[in-house]
């Protein structure tokens, strides 16, 4: 229980701050789905990579800096402070936050050597292929099938809710390779080349107006068996380690961003004070909500530190994920109320109304809040499993 801040940490922080001051793009990320948006995300990734900031904690052999998690957190914190492009609303996020860590943990040497540097440099964009029309929260219901044919896997079926599929070269694809299997057995995790013949992508327009979120169809898509991660039949286990990254370390940069976003709202209220609620806005109901989210944002960062310190297994990431996703929604809902009538225009105040809509995804993606509460109840608190179909 102590603040750890070595002289090297301070130097690193200053180095990060200086680099960000000179390199954070001045223009905003295009909000329309399309080539310009993809280019913006990839350019920012490339610039970080070329500047030596591709990844702070990944091993040097794969293009990272091989530094401890404390430095990683400093980097995220400085990115948030510099209002650098957001980590999650960015098509490089899937590769950085879960495909990459999963390959580091479960991939073979060839997969590591090929994919990891490409993820860091922005040369390869990734997407996730887990959910299906019949397998959402109940992920073990996956039915997209893969048939082994010589040294290939031939895949047919459908995935859905695949963010960034239209931008991606590669996909984390979970399929059923044993046709006689049910539930968790008989699944395989394979890296799908999105340019392979038989892959068809159909964008879905979402409630915020974007269409980077897609359905993906597979019609006898042939992938090499060398693209399987963790072995044929080990897919559930690999998928669970991926979800542990998605619910754990993927939250770290977002926690830093939320705290910075709350400060942005405070600055806005401070500057608008005469027109909002008179000089006494701190005493108002909106002031109380601002204070509450400021406390929550501080607590979220502290929860990240506690998660790291306790190192108590993957389920605890659900505490951070659940708190984070519900806090994001509280913050953007508060922004709407602070904006008043200007909340009726999506672009107001740098796009908060658009974010308000987009944030409805946070309690659905990476496992709904209800699934996170099941995990907390059963795997952390030790409550008995419920439901008739287990």
């Amino acid at each position: 229980m102590r603040v750890v801040q070595s002289a090297e940490d301070l130097l690193f922080r200053q180095e990060a701050r200086d680099w960000l001051a000179a390199n954070v793009p001045g223009e905003r990320r295009p909000h329309e789905t399309g080539d310009a948006q993809r280019a913006f995300d990839v350019d920012w990734r490339r610039r970080q990579y070329d500047g030596g900031w591709g990844h702070i904690a990944w091993p040097r052999a794969y293009g990272g800096r091989g530094l401890p998690v404390a430095r990683q957190l400093i980097w995220y914190e400085e990115c948030a402070r510099a209002r650098a492009p957001a980590y999650t609303n960015n098509c490089c996020f899937v590769g950085l936050s879960h495909a990459g860590p999963t390959i580091i943990a479960r991939g073979d040497d060839a997969q590591k050597a090929f994919h990891l540097p490409r993820i860091l440099s922005g040369d390869a964009v990734w997407c996730q292929g887990f959910s299906e029309p019949g397998a959402g929260s109940d992920l073990a219901g996956v039915r997209t099938r893969g048939v082994i044919d010589g040294d290939s896997l031939v895949i047919s079926g459908q995935k859905i809710w695949t963010s960034y599929a239209i931008y991606a070269q590669f996909q984390e694809l979970l399929i059923r390779t044993d046709p006689d299997s049910t539930r968790h057995d008989g699944l395989t995790f394979v890296i799908c080349d999105m340019s392979a013949p038989g892959v068809e992508i159909r964008p879905i327009r979402n409630i915020a107006g974007g269409s980077d979120f897609c359905e993906v169809f597979y019609d006898e898509v042939r992938l090499p068996l060398t693209a399987v991660v963790g072995g044929v039949g080990a897919g559930w286990d690999v998928a669970m380690s991926l979800l542990a990254f998605e619910r754990g370390a993927a939250s770290f940069p977002v926690a830093m961003e939320i705290a910075a976003r709350v400060e942005e709202l405070l600055e806005y209220v401070e500057s608008k004070r005469p027109s909002i609620e008179g000089a006494g806005w701190r005493e108002s109901a909106l002031g109380a909500r601002l204070a509450a989210v400021r406390a929550d944002a501080a607590a979220l960062k502290s929860m990240v530190y506690l998660l790291i310190a306790r190192d108590a297994g993957p389920a605890e990431g659900s505490y951070v994920r659940l708190f984070l996703s519900e806090l994001e929604q509280r913050v953007s809902a508060l922004a709407m109320d602070l904006l008043g009538p200007e909340g009726l225009e999506k672009a107001s105040l740098g796009g908060w109304p658009r974010r308000y809509l987009d944030d409805f995804k946070t309690t659905i993606a990476a496992g709904t809040s209800q699934i996170q509460r099941n995990i907390i109840g059963e795997r952390i608190l030790g409550l008995p499993k419920g439901g008739a179909r287990r």
Binding site: M1, V3, A309, Q370, I380, L383, P384
Partner: protein
């Protein structure tokens, strides 16, 4: 970053204090039928009141981080707010007075201003010293400064008096947030303990042929309690680390800790009663005491609104 792990020494301190409290302060001692016990004397013998004071003053020479760990357990075991008052009084005094407070020969009690000269005093019997906690200061007064009459308190496990404080509560106490920090630690402990109590109940109480905790309606209430307790513990520990080593950020982190812990204790106390069902509405079950204690401790710290106001006036932390 903030390392929220415990050192081996800190772990030993927690184990020691939990053993002490389990033996001397089971929550069952608060039931109306229980025999009175002198917890204060046992705590003094352990060294509780001078935990963060130098050894030559009768203290244990620990730091504020360790003291926060103690007070988390104090919250879990529902120790009287007078324990907190005595720790704070020992911090603010010196010489023989400090030694007597550390040794348990003199005691302090908390007063809570109602505005003007009016105030409550909590568990004031036997106290020679009074302590009032304000967000950024602690005021110390002689016991004679308060005169009041017993009233029926929300939390019946403490004695509440309502009366007058001579001259009211003027500023001019010690400028420190440590009272709020330790109080927030107690609230975090309350939120953890009442979560554990309700979760244990949900594992054994059966309806419709299975433990009620198997039903999502109950499981999700329990998950919310677990989340609240986790958030409160995390932020209290981060505030303790800031208080120990980054004073510039301490006010922000402590106000955030108090706000988070107040909300967590209040919410968990309420949810836990619901999870207990009919039993939760009885005086016989322990669960209601945690909710009442959440209110008492929040009141002592000036309430959630006061912490929110304070937090809005703090600059953002330099580093987290």
């Amino acid at each position: 970053m903030i390392d929220l792990g415990l050192s081996d020494d800190q772990r030993q301190i927690v184990d020691g204090v939990v053993a002490l409290l389990q033996e001397n302060c089971p929550v069952s001692r608060l039931r109306p039928s229980a025999a009175p016990s002198d917890v204060h004397r046992r705590l003094a013998e352990w060294g509780w009141f001078g935990a963060a004071l130098p050894e030559h003053d009768g203290g244990l020479g620990l730091g504020v981080a360790e003291e926060v760990l103690l007070y988390f357990e104090a919250g879990r075991f529902l120790l009287s707010p007078s324990v907190l008052a005595t720790t704070l009084a020992a911090r603010l005094t010196g010489g023989d007075e400090r030694k007597a407070l550390c040794a348990g020969d003199r005691r302090a009690a908390l007063v809570l201003s109602l505005g003007g000269d009016e105030a409550y005093c909590i568990d004031g019997a036997g106290a020679q010293v009074l302590i009032a906690i304000r967000t950024d200061e602690i005021v110390i007064l002689p016991a004679e400064a308060f005169s009041g009459e017993p009233v029926v308190g929300l939390d019946e496990t403490v004695a509440l008096e309502r009366g007058r404080l001579d001259h009211g509560l003027r500023r001019g106490g010690e400028r420190t947030h440590v009272g709020v920090l330790l109080g927030a630690a107690m609230l975090a402990g309350v939120s953890r303990a009442v979560c554990d109590l309700a979760v244990d109940y949900a594992k054994v109480r059966e309806q419709f042929g299975q433990p009620i905790g198997a039903f999502q309606a109950i499981k999700h209430l329990c998950a919310d309690m677990g989340l609240n307790a986790y958030a409160a513990e995390a932020q209290v520990k981060a505030a303790a680390a800031a208080a120990a080593s980054t004073p510039r950020d301490a006010a922000f982190q402590i106000a955030a800790a108090a706000a988070t812990a107040m909300a967590a204790a209040r919410a968990n106390g309420s949810i836990a009663i619901q999870v207990h069902g009919g039993i939760g509405f009885t005086a016989e079950a322990d669960v209601h005491v945690y909710l009442k204690r959440a209110h008492l401790l929040s009141g002592v710290l000036g309430g959630l609104e006061e912490q929110h106001r304070w937090l809005l006036n703090c600059p953002p932390p330099q580093m987290a």
